[in-house]
């Protein structure tokens, strides 16, 4: 299998702006081309659009707006992990030889229809994500003796880190008390425990080993991919305090990259809600079950940005189709030592964890210099 690397990237700020999906897509793609004017658009074989927006034919539309005539053009939708699933598809096109260079652009509006999975009638009238997040929170807290105050540290840490990210939705820092006193959504969830839907876009350009060196001296390679879907419905989760799909996807990605979790220097993980971050860290194997909050508290106290340096979904906002791509861009910048005040200590190997619908599906990528 031939190597696949990341040649270029572009992004927009994440906002609450009311913009057309086509405009948002165009903006991050334009940012990519403006930062990399030497890219020959004729060499782009495929254009993939990652979004939950209901607009049709977005990949050919984006191709036309940006002056690309690709062989392959289509959209990819998988709720919140559409972005990394698009990267996996692009990787497959290149590694199979069907394409040499693939543009992936993810975008979402603040009012995305992907926020609620209408099909999942097993949830009854409780289809909004705050309800599964509340059940996860209650179960996790009880199983491991974790308090609401401890979970609030996830939000405090990720808002603090997002303040160093000029593209993040959140511009404020919060204390544990402020998280605890934010609007009560349920007995087990406060408003500041939640990521927020927003408008935003992120684009990356993947290329084969043969082509990538024409465009960058410091390519980042995708060396590990793991995916697992256990179900579509939340109530099919066998555990409510750990994430089975994340365990399997994480191990697959690490096996493919020939790494152990201890060799991951920096990671972006899908903190849709505060409780998700410790559950993910445990399910990926960063810590033993029940010890995720100890790791998070230690990172926060030492101002170590190893986990969610861009501020995670809680700090950055969550434009569903763009999130996995934005997470990937953060890890690229970290590995290229371009992350400014968010920079971690000379990382060599990074990981992205992106999931959908209460962890019924997870995608994990490993990136290396």
């Amino acid at each position: 299998m031939s190597k696949v690397g990341i040649a270029a990237y572009g992004t927009t700020s994440f906002t609450k702006d009311d913009q057309k999906i086509e405009t948002i897509l165009h903006k991050s793609t334009n940012d990519l081309f403006q930062k990399n004017p030497n890219i020959d658009k004729k060499e782009i074989d495929a254009v993939l659009v990652s979004t939950n927006n209901n607009s049709k034919y977005l990949s050919p539309i984006l191709s036309e707006m940006t002056g690309i005539q690709p062989k392959i053009a289509h959209s990819i939708e998988s709720l919140c992990n559409s972005g990394t699933n698009s990267i996996v598809s692009a990787f497959s096109y290149i590694s199979s030889g069907l394409a040499d260079m693939v543009l992936i652009s993810g975008a979402e509006r603040y009012d995305s229809p992907g926020q609620i999975l209408e099909w999942d009638n097993s949830r009854g009238e409780f289809k909004h994500p705050i309800f599964w997040a509340s059940i996860f929170s209650k179960s996790y807290k009880q199983e491991y003796g974790i308090s609401d105050e401890e979970l609030a540290i996830v939000s405090v840490k990720n808002h603090k880190q997002a303040k160093e990210n000029p593209n993040a939705l959140s511009k404020k820092t919060y204390t544990v008390d402020e998280v605890m006193n934010s609007k009560k959504l349920t007995d087990d969830l406060r408003l500041l425990n939640c990521s927020r839907p927003c408008t935003g876009s992120a684009s990356i350009l993947l290329a084969s080993e043969e082509i990538i060196k024409k465009y960058t001296d410091s390519p980042i390679w995708i060396t590990g991919i793991g995916q697992k879907t256990t179900s579509a419905g939340f109530t099919k989760n066998t555990s409510l305090s750990s994430m089975e799909s994340t365990k399997i996807a994480g191990q697959s990605a690490l096996n493919m990259a020939n790494h152990n979790i201890s060799e991951i220097d920096v990671a972006e993980v899908h903190d849709a809600f505060s409780v998700c971050e410790p559950m993910i860290l445990e399910s990926l194997g960063f810590t033993d079950p029940g010890n995720g909050m100890d790791m998070i508290k230690n990172l926060h106290q030492t101002n170590n940005f190893k986990i969610n340096p861009r501020g995670g979904l809680i700090g950055c906002g969550h434009p569903l189709g763009a999130t996995g791509i934005s997470q990937t861009i953060e890890i690229i910048e970290q590995l290229q030592n371009n992350a400014a005040s968010r920079q971690t200590d000379n990382p060599k190997t990074g990981l992205i964890h992106n999931m959908s619908a209460a962890a019924t599906s997870s995608t994990v990528l490993v990136l290396e210099k």
């Binding site: 209408e118 009638n121 097993s122 949830r123 009854g124 009238e125 409780f126 289809k127 309800f131 509340s134 059940i135 929170s137 209650k138 179960s139 959504l185 349920t186 007995d187 087990d188 969830l189 419905g233 939340f234 109530t235 099919k236 409510l240």
Partner: protein, 102 residues
């Protein structure tokens, strides 16, 4: 599939495979195990509270029926984990199912 017709009438019947007898959830005309046709098992099912939380004055619970079928249901009194419950109200409202247990 008559599951939704029964649900609209306030009756919660779970589909069962006519061939392998597996209870099939989410409700489907076909078995996810052997692909054969299902039929509604017309009996009153008892469920068990797996987890719950509360929004305002209403509790919402994960309730398990049999050993694999789980739904989210409303409960008006304080639930207990492992409490045995029955569907007291169910139906379809604006395209979404709703369930209440006692």
């Amino acid at each position: 599939m008559s599951f939704e017709k029964e649900l609209e009438q306030g009756r919660f019947y779970i589909p069962e495979c006519l061939e392998c007898k597996k209870l099939v959830w989410p409700p489907s005309e076909f078995c996810d195990n052997c692909n054969e046709v299902t039929s509604l098992k017309k009996e009153e099912f008892e469920g068990k509270i797996i987890e719950f939380s509360r929004q305002n004055e209403e509790y919402f619970c994960v309730v398990e029926f049999g050993d694999s079928i789980r739904i989210m249901a409303k409960m008006m009194t304080l639930p207990k984990k492992d409490q045995i419950v029955k569907i007291s109200k169910c139906g379809i409202s604006e395209g979404s199912y709703f369930f209440q247990v006692i």
